[in-house]
């Protein structure tokens, strides 16, 4: 009783925006309940012509690259050892963990037989990209969970698990990068089977590679956008200098993307490009507004150093990615004249998932040391209750700091 009252009092103190998000999450949960009671056919606008709709296009195909910040930044910071980027890693991991957990929720909602999701672990079919992606997503969500445990243990002062987690840190970072490479690209492999269905502006054998590269720059863009927003609205430290470093990396990645895309378009694609004006328009918006404009923006020092312009460029890049994933998974699929518009239930669930992502991020940032994890201000050493390290190594009590 008192616990409930404590929680209610705590929630009463939240900002109005957070309360609004809570309402959205509640509506989303209600909508998913409706979906389970009445079934996919009644509550969604999916049909035999459009077996995959908004949930696959957004909650899975788009949300996975948007959560790619964790593995890219982890690899850049720890493997290439650019230590100053460290303060950005934890928020990225939290975003990634939340993103992937909600991807799993989205996938479960979309399955016709969600109670059988464990079948993928028992009945293997290594020829299926879906099998590969589901295994990777399960593995990677576990990795992200373990990485996320560090701030949780710090918060509650569990020193022993912390020590284990510290030794696991590097293997986890490497595993994260390797697993992510696989499933980010395999999301592109999904559509390689849609040979005569996906429009040739998007269908080419390099689709998996393109998906992987675009996941890298969109993951980095999300970090820029997120850090800018947390600075502005959550009153966190200004990380402009670090974001500038990221903004210097991004145009290189986009450059590679443009080269690969051009090569795939001109040498590997088959079939007509200009047969449907709607597709050409979508493609033009995606590449011009979503790739070239941010590319040239990030090339300019003025944009990289300006908080606002940098965030706008990152936003454009994310817009381009979202449009690209929708083009590949929804608009670009060739159909016989029927139109698919997501139903109310589908929309509410997706809106709820986005709201949950923001809400949980803010709440986690509020209660756990996500942003305080700055190497200069926080003592990296493991508080040692057994004094073992100190006894053995004398004054070098900070052995754990390197792990």
């Amino acid at each position: 009783m008192t616990a409930a009252r404590l929680i209610i009092n705590e929630i009463k103190g939240y900002h109005r925006f957070l309360k609004f998000l809570m309402v959205l999450v509640g509506l989303g949960a209600l909508a998913s309940l409706v979906r389970f009671i009445f079934g996919l056919g009644v509550t969604t606008n999916l049909n035999d012509t459009y077996p995959w709709g908004l949930w696959i296009s957004f909650d899975v195909v788009t949300a996975v690259p948007l959560a790619a910040g964790a593995f890219t930044l982890g690899a850049i910071t720890h493997c290439f050892h650019i230590k100053k980027l460290e303060p950005l890693v934890r928020p990225a991991i939290v975003t990634g963990f939340l993103g992937y957990s909600l991807v799993s929720v989205g996938l479960l909602l979309d399955l016709g037989q969600p109670q059988r999701c464990w079948h993928t672990m028992v009945f293997w079919n290594p020829h299926s990209p879906m099998f590969e992606v589901s295994m990777c997503i399960m593995a990677y969500t576990t990795v992200l969970f373990l990485e996320f445990l560090s701030p949780v243990c710090e918060r509650f002062g569990y020193h022993l698990p912390l020590r284990v987690l510290r030794t696991l840190e590097m293997p986890l970072v490497v595993a994260a990068a390797a697993i992510s490479t696989l499933h980010q690209s395999s999301l592109g492999t999904f559509f390689l089977i849609a040979v005569d269905k996906l429009h040739s502006l998007w269908y080419n054998p390099l689709l998996p590679l393109l998906f992987w590269i675009s996941a890298i720059f969109s993951g980095l863009s999300i970090i820029i956008l997120e850090a800018t927003m947390t600075h502005k609205w959550l009153g966190q430290e200004d990380e402009s200098e670090l974001l500038e470093t990221l903004a210097r990396i991004i145009p290189w990645v986009i450059g590679v993307y443009i080269l690969v895309k051009a090569y795939a378009l001109f040498f590997l694609s088959q079939g007509p490009f200009f047969d449907r004006p709607g597709m050409v328009a979508l493609f033009a918006v995606e590449t011009i507004a979503g790739v070239f404009v941010p590319f040239f923006m990030f090339m300019r020092k003025k944009v990289r150093t300006d908080n606002r312009l940098r965030a706008i460029a990152a936003g454009l890049l994310i817009f381009g990615l979202v449009l690209n994933r929708f083009n590949v998974s929804m608009y670009g699929m060739i159909h016989d004249g029927q139109v698919y518009i997501p139903s109310l239930v589908e929309t509410l669930v997706t809106v709820g998932i986005i709201a949950a992502e923001i809400l949980f991020f803010v709440l986690i940032a509020k209660y756990f040391p996500i942003f305080e994890h700055h190497p200069e201000t926080v003592d990296y050493s493991i508080p040692d209750h057994f004094r073992k390290i100190e006894k053995e190594h004398g004054e070098h009590g900070k052995v754990g700091s390197e792990a």
Partner: protein, 281 residues
């Protein structure tokens, strides 16, 4: 691969000669009866032509499509039986994460409903648009033509082939192909010089002969390559990529961390020697 193809060609196949189809839809009815499928409420003149129901669905595994056309100023009819093509290398079987689809050695591609998790990737993958979903149910499954596997195992012909008075011939695929070629050669004025299903999607166990151009009848343009090879060319790289990325990143981080450790040790050594010097003095 080649031995597979041999087995595939000796397995049973449907030869559907659309010039001999009278549009009686006996196959449609026989299919419903054998598979105990519910009738669908339909309206006449619903959509193009006389075909009913408007499309294949969870209740309709096969149906006759109708086409009205003019030849030498005369009105003519053409029919097309729509059903699962039972590909040699089925896209549905390759993309299913739990392996619910299987190409049997007898010919049909069968679906194990107990494994299915309902991801509907088979529906996205199938170039012929065959697998349909039980949209009416809360926990839906995929439905499609089974090639009457239950009948074939007992030595019977599929229900539609049994019911058909004229157009469907059922037997080993190699023989069916030979028969199709014989018919085309014997009456070249009657047939279009093409056997649909011979090479489509890497070869199917349902092959068609017709008088009208195939795309006009509503046949889909389908690649000649087997569908699974499109995704496999990327998926086969998975273990290699995993090891390459994991290995190179491990090496890289080992080097960068070693560099830093050495630097730190060097600093400590200098500091301690400095300290020792001071103490000596």
């Amino acid at each position: 691969m080649n031995s597979d193809l041999k087995e595939f060609n000796s397995a049973a196949a449907f030869l559907i000669d659309m010039t001999k189809c009278t549009g009686c839809r006996g196959c449609q009815v026989a299919c419903k009866q054998w598979n105990q499928l519910k009738g669908e409420k339909t309206r006449f003149f619903n959509g193009e032509g006389y075909q009913n129901p408007p499309s294949m669905s969870e209740y309709t595994f096969t149906r006759i499509k109708f086409r009205d056309y003019q030849k030498n100023g005369q009105n003519e009819f053409a029919f097309y039986k729509e059903m699962c093509m039972h590909c040699n290398e089925p896209a549905c079987a390759s993309v299913c994460p739990v392996g619910a689809f299987k190409k049997t050695k007898e010919g049909p591609v069968v679906y194990d409903a107990k494994r299915c998790i309902g991801c509907r990737f088979c529906m996205v993958a199938c170039p012929f648009g065959v697998p349909k979903y039980e949209w009416s149910k809360a926990f839906p499954l995929v439905r499609k033509c089974t090639g009457c596997y239950s009948r074939i195992r007992e030595g019977l012909k599929p229900a539609c082939a049994t019911a058909c008075p004229s157009a469907i011939t059922y037997g080993p695929r190699a023989e069916m192909l030979k028969e199709a070629e014989r018919r085309i050669a014997a009456r070249p004025e009657r047939y279009l010089k093409k056997i649909y299903g011979k090479e489509e999607a890497g070869g199917t166990s349902v092959i068609y002969l017709t008088a009208l151009p195939f795309d006009e009848l509503g046949f889909k343009q389908v690649t000649k390559r087997s569908l699974p090879s499109y995704t496999w060319q990327a998926l086969r790289l998975v273990p290699g990529i995993f090891l390459t990325v994991g290995g190179s990143l491990s090496l890289l981080s080992w080097f960068t961390h070693r560099k830093e450790r050495l630097k730190k040790e060097e600093e400590q050594r200098q500091a301690s020697s400095h300290k020792a010097k001071e103490e000596n003095q």
